[in-house]
């Protein structure tokens, strides 16, 4: 898309890189339905970084894989809504169409580079796989491309390193190789699923800095899936909080991490042990667990653990409360002006 050089008097109607609309997914196993996602909606603008935050069982990884269009596809009878990649629906696309989009339009970085790379294949072949799957590359072209990609992600001495096998790299270097493989096809959308969870903090920082730089330089959009609310500040433009397959809150990262509106987000932040600030020997624990996922949730999925739950929280699905132009919480308490949280 070309941009006018003058100030944009009329906002250009841009197609979002990703648009998820009322997505519900269910998996059937042993005659039991598991409702993994329920009515998830959000948009990812071009060049934007959206963080999807949630604990185990929140559905964050399934959501990532559904956008990527790989892995076990849910039973189509039990999937509703739409997952649009620049307007093209991933849910209704054929397996072949989804395969052709993977790598060039959307790509993924996984948590554990040790297991997501093939241990028996030299690095260079894996880095250029998304390109060589589509068009014939001479060995020379392929190797040159791999060197270029490894250099771009800061692997030292790439000419020599392209012939190495995954186990010859440290964890941090291996994750750089995973990133190189993901961005080699120049995708519009990069999904990073817990990309630094397996790494030391000193290395984590370098890998996240690299992803930031790639996104800014290339203009690709990014979805950062994580359980760690600490990572987001200064990195994700917006943050979406997922719980038991539902979006509880979405808004600018600054607001979500410093002035969250949903009780779950508030409790989650409070439970993180802090290195800065006052020492807390006793952390406010969040007892209980996820509601059963084998039936559709009535009301708010967090109601059973919520300290301020009201009767309707258990029975009626909470409304989307607009707290700021870009900040929405799905919460009855936020909807009630008496609580003083609504604007």
């Amino acid at each position: 898309m070309s941009l006018a050089l003058t100030a944009p008097a009329i906002p250009v109607h841009a197609v979002p890189a990703v648009s998820v609309q009322e997505l519900s997914l269910g998996f059937e196993s042993n005659g039991k339905m598991t409702h993994v996602l329920e009515g998830v909606s959000f948009e990812l603008a071009q060049g934007e970084c959206l963080a999807i935050v949630g604990e185990s069982g929140s559905g964050k990884s399934v959501l990532g894989r559904t956008i990527l269009g790989v892995g076990s596809q849910p039973n189509s009878e039990h999937s509703q809504g739409a997952v649009l990649l620049s307007g093209d629906d991933q849910l209704t696309a054929s397996a072949q169409e989804r395969r052709s989009r993977a790598g060039t339009r959307v790509a993924m970085i996984y948590q554990d580079p040790m297991t997501s790379l093939n241990p028996t294949v030299r690095i260079w072949k894996q880095v250029i796989e998304s390109i060589s799957n589509r068009r014939r590359l001479s060995r020379r072209e392929g190797r040159a491309k791999a060197v270029e990609m490894l250099r771009a992600v800061g692997v030292p001495d790439p000419e020599r390193r392209i012939d190495a096998y995954p186990h010859e790299f440290s964890g941090g270097m291996m994750q750089r190789v995973g990133i190189a493989a993901a961005i080699a096809g120049n995708p519009d959308v990069l999904i990073a699923d817990e990309p630094t969870t397996a790494l030391d903090v000193t290395v984590q920082r370098k890998v996240l800095d690299l992803l930031d730089r790639i996104r800014r330089d290339s203009g690709m959009s990014m979805i950062l899936i994580t359980h760690d609310l600490g990572l987001l500040t200064g990195r994700a433009d917006r943050t979406m909080v997922l719980y038991a397959g539902r979006v509880l809150e979405i808004g600018p990262t600054e607001r979500i991490t410093t002035a969250p509106a949903h009780p779950y987000t508030q409790r989650l932040l409070a439970a993180i042990p802090n290195v800065s600030g006052t020492l807390r020997r006793e952390l406010p624990a969040l007892d209980g667990g996820l509601p059963p996922l084998d039936r559709p949730r009535t009301g708010c999925p967090f109601a059973s653990r919520c300290e301020i739950a009201m009767p309707q929280c258990h029975t009626e699905r909470p409304p989307a409360v607009q707290l700021a132009p870009d900040h929405i919480a799905h919460c009855w308490a936020a909807a009630d002006p008496a609580e003083g949280t609504a604007p």
Partner: protein, 349 residues
């Protein structure tokens, strides 16, 4: 049985007291030989754990945290040094220690579900150490209920469950209850909360802290998470490539690290709503344990390294206030330096 009936408190009622060392580790060395050479996984470590206190071991992967724990328990044989627990010398290998010594050191591992037998009920799992200790069956049942209560579990609902039927946080508390069943003198928690969700992690940390403060249980707590370490520990020991960088009271060390490596770790911790400042280490890769650098093992990543750091391995020296640091250019000066110099150094850093 002292540990979970929670009778006596430490004199101050909470937190550390200047008790004598209960666990004493001197000159511990562990080496692994492989085809590419020998790795000094633990390279001459001196550590004390005071009675009723929690000592945290921190450091990156490969720093030797878990190896120290395993050598302490005797799962890995140390090649040098001594270990004494409650004044009793411990043989390098577990099989050479008397049963009482083996029971005295109990470990809780990272992954709660895989460290419990999936076919056994919780009641059976927790009763196992009691059966080994030949506790009669009727008092066993009573004791299992006490232990599960002490770790904050709803006893009646959990007794007949199997590991697959309970949450990760519950499973980790069952692991702790099982460890406590052996009436340990020292609990070793190796990344025991790392696999847990934040909301659940808080519950387990609260349980561990209570066992220490109210139950007088001594603990070695291993974690890569400085926030977790600060919450639960009294003292902290920072490891880099099998060597100690810094030891001291957790609050003091984390508030003002003396070793550049501690400062680097501290600066890399991401916290919600707080932007990360400048990195406090160079871009150099962590060194290979097979060919560690000469002198100080951190020098290639250190912002303050000079020629002397490549020549001489720094010795642990006293800083005062119970703190020790192994650095030629510590960020806070040794006890005899003036406070003014300390301030100037911190500002320039």
């Amino acid at each position: 049985m002292r540990t979970t009936s929670l009778p006596e408190k430490t004199p101050s009622g909470m937190g550390p007291v200047d008790g004598e060392a209960f666990v004493t580790i001197r000159g511990m060395e562990v080496q692994f030989r492989g085809p590419k050479g020998t790795v000094h996984a633990v390279d001459g470590i001196d550590l004390d754990i005071r009675k009723g206190s929690v000592l945290a071991l921190v450091g990156e992967s490969g720093s030797g945290k878990s190896t120290i724990a395993k050598a302490l328990v005797g799962l890995v044989a140390r090649s040098g040094g001594t270990v004494s627990v409650g004044g009793v010398e411990q043989a390098p290998e577990r099989r050479n220690r008397p049963r009482q010594s083996r029971a005295a050191l109990q470990m809780v591992f990272q992954n709660p579900v895989s460290s419990l037998n999936p076919y056994q009920k919780v009641a059976t799992i927790v009763a196992e150490p009691l059966r080994v200790a030949k506790v009669p069956a009727d008092s066993r049942v009573k004791r299992v209920r006490e232990l599960l209560g002490a770790v904050g579990l709803d006893v009646d609902s959990i007794l007949d469950k199997r590991p697959g039927e309970i949450s990760g946080g519950q499973a980790q508390r069952v692991s702790i209850a099982r460890a406590l069943a052996a009436a340990p003198e020292l609990l070793i928690a190796d990344e025991s909360v790392s696999a847990l969700d934040v909301s659940v992690q808080a519950t387990v940390l609260n349980v561990l802290r209570r066992l220490s403060v109210e139950g007088g249980l001594s603990m070695l707590f291993i974690s890569h998470d400085l926030g977790v370490v600060r919450t639960v520990s009294d003292d902290i020991a920072v490891l880099h490539l099998g060597q100690l960088c810094e030891v001291g009271p957790s609050e003091a060390v984390l508030a003002a690290p003396a070793h550049p490596y501690t400062a680097a770790l501290r600066a890399a911790v991401p916290e919600p709503g707080i932007p990360l400042g400048e990195a406090k280490h160079t871009d150099a890769e962590p060194p290979s344990p097979l060919s560690p650098p000469s002198g100080c093992s951190f020098r290639e990543r250190c912002l303050y390294a000079t020629a002397v750091c490549a020549e001489l391995r720094p010795a642990l020296t006293e800083l005062g206030g119970g703190r020790r640091v192994a650095c030629h250019h510590p960020l806070i000066p040794a006890a005899h330096d003036t406070a003014h110099e300390a301030h100037a150094k911190e500002n320039s850093a």
